[in-house]
């Protein structure tokens, strides 16, 4: 049983979460027309033996999507953060519509 330290709810069993895949890949912009970029985002994975960034959602809890750094060799969790916080850093706020 993994124990994930949810930033909102504290340490919880992984039963309360839904796994959401690799968080190290970069999602193209919604209107990016490049098939190659989408192909890489959807299909290409590194499968590391070691630290892996992955999405988990606290579905039976605060419902926040989290980015968890988990060591694939021993399940040790190095960090947990709100996905929204991390992704907001990458994409600056859009201007409100006029």
């Amino acid at each position: 049983m993994l124990r994930i330290e949810c930033p909102c709810c504290g340490p919880r069993d992984h039963d309360e979460f839904r796994y959401g895949g690799d968080a190290s890949v970069t999602r193209p912009a919604h209107d990016d027309p490049d098939p190659e970029a989408w192909y890489r985002y959807v299909y290409v994975r590194t499968n590391p033996a070691g630290l892996h960034r992955e999405f988990w959602q606290h579905v039976i809890g605060c419902r926040q999507w989290l980015v968890v750094e988990r060591d694939t060799r021993n399940h040790a969790i190095a960090s947990v953060d709100l996905a929204r916080k991390l992704s907001a850093r990458k994409s600056p706020a859009r201007k409100p519509p006029a």
Partner: protein, 984 residues
């Protein structure tokens, strides 16, 4: 012979004031409170308690703990029957009914013990060599008989009347093992301020200290420490509790047995499965004594030396009068001294040539005969040992005996640490495996770390307990370490493998694996321990080879002329001791196996003739019994009523999501393949969502309630997935969009009225509302209130008929449902179930779950025009990849059965006429229904585009029923292609 004739009149930790009656194989026997079944049997002189797995050899009690390989019994009767329980771990209770196993017709006379005579043929790999390969047919024939002959106890087949519980628990420090190291660790951790859970499998704390005389210094130390821990508010003493597995995140699986001596266990669970989450763990699991390997070493009356000492000092049972103690180390000498002090005639046969002078001197005081450089070669005796053949410096000699105590040293109990992937590391100085490196939150203490002396274990436990508490940030003032020195001398661990005599020398008693089997495995190249294990079945018994593992490794190492670390160690896996499946399930059995979701109208369905169907977790009406004799008759009648009058359907199971925010329209425009930005307020639109890879994800309708507020519905099956996906996109991809999504699935009851008379029914049910076509056109919305609850009426159709979806606050669902039926009575309004619902949509050519199966694209489903030339929505780019445009890509078509009296079936494979019906075919039938409109079976299918020309014939093959039926390829819309009914 009198009962309890092997019981001493004094001493032990039994309560002579409380006699306990039990039966073994129907024989009435008595023991005392504080006994185990094994100790009570020994006290009564029962030496033969079971037959072995393969050769049906007579077996007795070998150990005094969970490592017991031989003395397995079946406990209880009828539904409470539980097989394969070690008698050594069963706390004796009044009325206990125990049976021996694997014997017929009786334990003393077993027909299949003749297998022993066939032994030369039953060696390792025998069955496979004989019956597999070219003679596989023979195996198919013999397997039944072989399986019947082999094996252990049989489980009961009656339902178990007892209750089992699952619970969750938390602790700062979990300490596994209540021996000297564990007790000392608990004391230290509790003093530091940690919440401690001390887990002990036995019903008494103390571990090996329980083998010390009850009036000794060890007993005093134990009493004092236990009292100290009992008075501590932060220590949970969990006796009768086995830690069977350790999992990630320091989650420990525990099984607790109910106190069997409690005569009125009202409401108490027989077993409780606890998932304990600990911040740090101290492993104080102790060590298990090793047997010695010589001919006929499995005879009843052969026992581990430490076990004999436990029976003597803890249970006041003297299991023999004429005893040989065969050992390779100092520890077993204490057994010899105690047995001699209790009046037995004892000989020590020590493998070692030079013996510690102090022990030899002490032996003289107790009148123990000492023979150095001597080992047992062979034993004789059927149901109990009678004579031993010894081999010493003066050659072979014979000695009479009625008990043989053996000690081949000790093996640290590294099973639980193995569960964590910690590889055992061999230590030459103690001649055994200890756990390798621990993570920072785990600690080992006592003999499991090789600290074999009591004083050492207590000191080690103190250190580990302090460190484990400190890891949790608890570092209160340390108590004075408590001390107890029993003056043990170091246990040297010899690993010599002795030449066996002519009889079988057992390594694994439970699986009947002998030194001969290991030699054979070696000869045939199965040298790696993992191969050895699988070839000989070594360590595969219910005891997981607790006593056999090391002797087997030593034997293989000798054969390979290698060191033990070179030979390697096997991996122990959970559970440490067998766990009943029922315990893990707890109360999640029968209808508690999974949650059941009921709609607000559930009770009405139940009292009004609905046959219910499980749809995921939901219970939905399948059909109503008043509609027909069976589902096939009922659904057609329910369909007809919807097409001719009107029908009412409970659609509360649809996923419902409230989407709000200034960017809600932009968000939906990206989420759906078709556009939503320009949807006017008060209008609904059918939408399809794709996955990132371009495959269709889900469909539903979304209604614009206000400029920045939408009401989305999803399919029943995908409700949770869609919500989660929307949240994912907002949290990870587009955090700049100001949108909130919330599930409102349970807040609304939903029902649909479909059929030509539906508008009239609505007018009658809601006289105050204007439901005219001008006020409520197709895809329109009407918001109001009904009896104080919010009401939404959407004019949407799934069936192809004029239809309305009515949403009302969930608590008013059943009232509104009844009101609609009442208002609809003059119009023949009747309820219908999911079978008719599915049939209606097939007839109308609407796709659903069977077509949106995670493999189909918009184009496959004939929905490509919905997206048109739009871009910038999820799945937009990859849906246009070339492979999805291949000419033989399977696309949605309609099929019409053209053979009189035959039917189409969902799942049938499609072939061209004249084509050999072999392989995956050209496509498959996804959904079928009888169409009252067409008067025949029709269906939807996915068929390769290059052969899917409308009007041509296709053959549907259903191998499960060896059916072949001809069908015509037609448009998937079987009814009203112009959509006149929607508006009519």
């Amino acid at each position: 012979m009198s009962s309890n004739h092997k019981r001493l009149s004094m001493g032990g930790r039994i309560d002579r004031e409380q006699p306990v009656d039990f039966t073994f194989d129907g024989r009435k026997l008595a023991g005392y409170r504080g006994d185990t079944l094994a100790s009570a049997l020994l006290a009564n002189g029962v030496t033969l308690v079971g037959r072995s797995f393969k050769y049906h050899r007579p077996r007795g009690i070998f150990s005094a703990g969970p490592e017991e390989p031989n003395a397995l019994v079946t406990l209880g009767i009828a539904g409470r029957r539980e097989p394969n329980l070690p008698a050594t771990t069963l706390e004796l209770a009044d009325g206990m009914v125990a049976e021996s196993q694997n014997r017929w017709p009786s334990l003393a006379f077993d027909v299949q013990s003749a297998n022993g005579l066939l032994a030369p043929f039953l060696s390792a790999g025998f069955y496979y060599k004989t019956f597999m390969g070219p003679t596989r047919r023979a195996w198919m024939f013999y397997e039944h008989f072989i399986r019947k002959a082999a094996g252990l106890g049989r489980a009961g087949t009656d339902p178990d009347p007892d209750r089992y519980e699952v619970r969750h628990a938390f602790a700062d420090v979990a300490i596994i093992g209540g021996g000297p190291a564990g007790l000392s660790a608990a004391r230290a951790a509790a003093a530091a301020g940690a919440r401690v859970a001390l887990i002990e499998q036995d019903f008494l704390l103390g571990g090996q200290l329980l083998a010390e005389p009850s009036d000794s210094a060890a007993a005093a130390w134990l009493r004092q420490t236990e009292a100290e821990l009992e008075s501590s508010e932060t220590v949970a003493l969990m006796k009768r509790t086995t830690a069977f597995g350790i999992y990630d995140g320091n989650v420990i699986g525990l099984v607790e047995q109910r106190d069997p001596t409690n005569r009125q266990p009202v409401g108490e669970a027989r077993q409780t499965f606890t998932m304990l989450r600990a911040r740090s763990i101290v492993f104080a699991t102790g060590a298990i004594e090793r047997p010695m390997v010589f001919s006929n070493n499995d005879r009843p009356g052969v026992m581990l030396a430490s076990a004999a000492r436990t029976y003597l000092n803890r249970f006041a049972v003297l299991p023999g009068k004429k005893i040989i103690v065969a050992t390779s180390n100092d520890g077993a000498w204490r057994t010899a001294f105690d047995l001699a002090a209790a009046g037995a005639e004892v000989t020590v046969a020590d493998l070692r040539a030079s013996l510690p002078a102090a022990l030899v001197a002490e032996a003289a005081q107790f009148g123990v005969v000492v023979r150095a450089a001597t080992h047992i070669v062979d034993l004789r005796g059927g149901h109990a040992v009678r004579r031993a053949t010894l081999n010493g410096p003066d050659g072979q000699s014979e000695a009479a005996c009625d008990l043989v105590c053996v000690s081949g040293g000790w093996s640290p109990t590294v099973h639980l640490t193995s569960h964590l992937g910690i590889k055992p590391a061999y230590r030459d100085d103690i001649g055994g495996f200890v756990p390798g490196a621990f993570a920072a939150d785990r600690f080992g203490a006592g003999s499991m770390m090789g600290a074999y002396s009591t004083a050492g274990a207590i000191e080690d436990g103190h250190r580990a307990g302090t460190q484990a508490a400190s890891f949790c940030g608890k570092s209160g003032p340390a108590p004075t370490p408590s001390k107890l020195d029993l003056g043990e001398t170091a246990a040297a661990q010899l690993r010599e493998v002795l030449p066996a005599g002519r009889g079988k020398a057992f390594v694994d008693f439970q699986m009947d694996v002998t030194t001969g089997d290991i030699e054979l495995a070696h000869r045939e190249g199965y040298e790696s321990v993992e191969h050895l294990k699988r070839y000989t079945t070594l360590g595969m018994g219910t005891d997981q080879g607790k006593t056999s593992n090391f002797p087997a490794l030593a034997a293989m190492a000798t054969l390979r002329n290698a060191t033990i670390p070179e030979t390697g160690a096997t991996t122990f896996r959970p559970p440490y001791t067998p766990v009943a499946i029922g315990t893990l399930a707890g109360r999640a059995i029968g209808h508690h196996f999974k949650p059941i979701r009921r709609t607000p109208m559930h009770d009405w369905h139940m009292t009004n003739g609905a046959e219910m169907l499980e749809v995921g977790l939901w219970m939905r009406p399948y059909f109503y019994k008043q509609s027909g004799r069976d589902v096939n008759e009922a659904y057609v009648a329910e369909m007809r009523n919807a097409r001719q009058a009107a029908s009412l359907m409970d659609i509360s199971t649809l996923g419902k999501i409230d989407v709000q925010g200034p960017d809600a329209a932009i968000f939906l425009d990206r989420v759906y393949a078709n556009g939503f930005a320009k949807l006017p307020v008060g209008r609904a639109r059918y939408g399809v969502m794709l996955r990132d890879d371009g495959i269709v994800f889900d469909d539903g309708t979304t209604t614009r309630l206000a400029e920045n507020r939408f009401f989305m519905t999803t399919s029943t099956a995908k409700a949770a997935d869609v919500l989660s996906r929307l949240e994912f996109l907002l949290d990870t991809a587009w955090p700049d969009l100001r949108v909130a999504v919330t599930s409102v699935s349970d807040e609304w009851a939903a029902m649909s009225v479909a059929g030509p008379k539906s508008r009239a029914i609505l007018s009658a049910a809601f006289p105050a509302l204007d439901v005219s076509d001008a006020a409520l056109a197709h895809m329109g919305l009407l918001e109001s209130e009904w009896r104080g609850r919010a009401l939404r009426i959407l004019r949407l159709s799934y069936s192809g008929e004029r239809a309305y979806e009515i949403y009302v606050g969930a608590t008013a669902g059943e009232q509104l449902w009844s009101r609609l039926l009442e208002a609809g009575r003059p119009f023949d309004l009747k309820p219908y179930g999911v079978e008719a619902l599915g049939a209606l949509r097939v007839e109308k050519g609407h796709v659903a779950g069977p077509e949106i199966d995670g493999r189909t694209t918009l184009d496959d489903l004939g929905l490509g025009r919905m997206a048109g030339k739009r871009t910038g929505f999820v799945g937009d780019v990859l849906r246009r990849r070339p492979a999805f445009q291949a000419p033989d890509r399977q696309r949605l078509v309609g099929l019409e059965c053209i053979e009189e009296g035959k039917r189409l079936r969902g799942g049938a494979i499609l072939f061209l006429p004249g084509e050999k019906p072999y392989g995956h075919g050209r496509g498959r039938v996804t959904s079928v229904t009888f169409s009252p409109e067409r008067g025949r079976y029709v269906g939807l299918a996915l068929l390769a585009g290059d052969v899917a020309s409308e009007g041509s014939e296709i053959v549907a093959v259903y191998p499960m029923k060896t059916e072949t039926v001809r069908a015509r390829i037609v448009s998937p819309v079987f009814l009203d292609p112009q959509g006149e009914r929607l508006h009519g």
